[in-house]
């Protein structure tokens, strides 16, 4: 199998030794991302789509838009639904069946970043208040698990949204009549998830799959276009000190700029 499930104790020691010199097994320094490649509009049949390669991680996000009912407490807003699937296709560690806690956490963290930063102008997706609104489905599809699925997925979701086209329509009574042409989805913020791992006392950015296996804790900070924090998620059974959390929030803010530039330039 090309996928090594277990890291030996020796490998662990080597990784720690390297970290003590500020380096990582793949040559990166502690706060660097792996190489990122973004392809957009990869699924013509979807309203929007993007594929993100982050090192060995390969994530595809597809956007479909449907017409449905609004939630009763926000009758004037469209609906956002984020779903993630960790299909066994992408890793022998993924189980078949309905989304497990990891897939659900992944989807919810991506969802929170988009929702809390108000990335989609949901008010513009209302068709008939209280009755008909557009429903935006973002489906995240992991095609190869190479570590740090959250950042890759959040990036793919944002790129797919920036790339989403909606048909033009007019209302005939309460029915939608589809008109010629397309308009972009109203996207007004660009949240970027930045994830750190804690290996022993070292904090590393963008953990790879190998690093995830010796990592004690994980912290994701999602930063919006105005450097505000819009979502946080600590994961895995370890801890952080207050100082570590403060440092991470600061680095996340800086790093988010890089990624945002990249995604915006790809989606122009």
């Amino acid at each position: 199998m090309r996928f090594s499930k277990f890291i030996t104790n020796l490998e662990r020691k080597q990784m720690l030794n390297l970290l003590s010199t500020g380096k990582r097994i793949d040559g990166r320094d502690l706060y660097s991302y792996r190489e990122i490649k973004i392809e957009t509009n990869v699924i013509e049949r979807a309203e929007g789509s993007a594929r993100v390669y982050l090192g060995d991680t390969d994530v595809l996000a597809g956007v479909k838009i449907d017409v449905g009912e609004p939630f009763p407490d926000v009758p004037n807003e469209g609906v956002l639904t984020v779903n993630a699937e960790l299909v066994p296709f992408a890793s022998p560690a993924f189980e078949p069946g309905p989304p497990d806690e990891n897939a659900i956490e992944l989807a919810r963290v991506v969802d929170r970043g988009i929702r809390e930063s108000k990335a989609i102008d949901l008010a513009k997706l209302c068709i008939i208040p209280g009755k008909k609104v557009f429903v935006v489905y973002i489906d995240i599809y992991v095609l190869n698990h190479g570590g740090n699925l959250i950042d890759a997925s959040a990036l793919a979701a944002l790129a797919a949204l920036l790339n989403t086209k909606m048909y033009n329509y007019e209302l005939v009574g309460e029915e939608l009549k589809i008109l010629a042409g397309y308009q972009p989805l109203p996207v007004k913020n660009y949240p970027i998830a930045v994830t750190f791992g804690k290996v022993s006392d070292y904090i590393i950015l963008d953990p790879s799959l190998d690093e995830e296996q010796i990592m004690d804790a994980r912290l994701t900070i999602t930063i919006d276009k105005d450097k505000r924090i819009c979502a946080i998620q600590k994961g895995i059974g370890g801890y952080f000190t207050l100082q570590q959390v403060r440092d991470i929030a600061k680095i996340a803010s800086e790093k988010s700029e890089e990624l945002r530039k990249l995604v915006l330039s790809e989606c122009k």
Binding site: K227, G237, F240, T241
Partner: protein, 243 residues
Amino acid sequence: MEKSEKPLITEDGLRTDGRGPRDLRPVKIEVGVVKNADGSAYIEHGKNKILAAVYGPSEVHPRHFALQDRALLRCKYHMAPFSVQDRKSPAPSRREIELSKVIREALEPSLFLEYYPRTSIDIFIEVLQADGGTRCASITAASIALADAGIPMRDMVVACAAGKVDGHIVLDLNDIEDKNGEADMPLAMMPNKGLITLLQMDGLVTQEEFKQMLELAMEGCNLIYQIQKKALKSTFIKTVEEV
């Protein structure tokens, strides 16, 4: 339900339930309330009413889930159908599945799981009534239930949220504040060394506000820790009397 139009913070700086920005809601803890369990606790935190029960260390079912080098820690956070305004279907929601995971991960660093290889420790949390901040109250209660079960620990875990409401940084958001405020940030920690074991946030805050919220939430945790300790002490006394 339409969003509330009333201010969440009055001109005097008071909140909808009369608290000041840095005030906790009343917290009441009872230990050893579920007879069948190996350890248990009941918490009332504001109008939250939550039970936590711990079973284990015991044989793992199904057996192939057992871990060779440590105990398998499992956690199920579950809301009673009548715990919220609109009846909740008893089937676990995506929210409950995520919360079960983050609560387990918040408690895990406090435990010496390696002392009990090939066993399971099961934490069951039942939210009987929900009022904002159930995950924090659940963690506080579950940590006591673990202590009550005699599971060896590095430290207790205690949790409290801070957030932003009507522009103010406030401690321990209730349901209305959680739903209508700008940000909610639950935090759990092991209080002795101030190690953070859960941190989440929904909302939109600046770096500066985030720092204030971090400190306030940790303050809140320390306040609850005092109550937690008292609850545990009274049990230990009870235990001694029983002998």
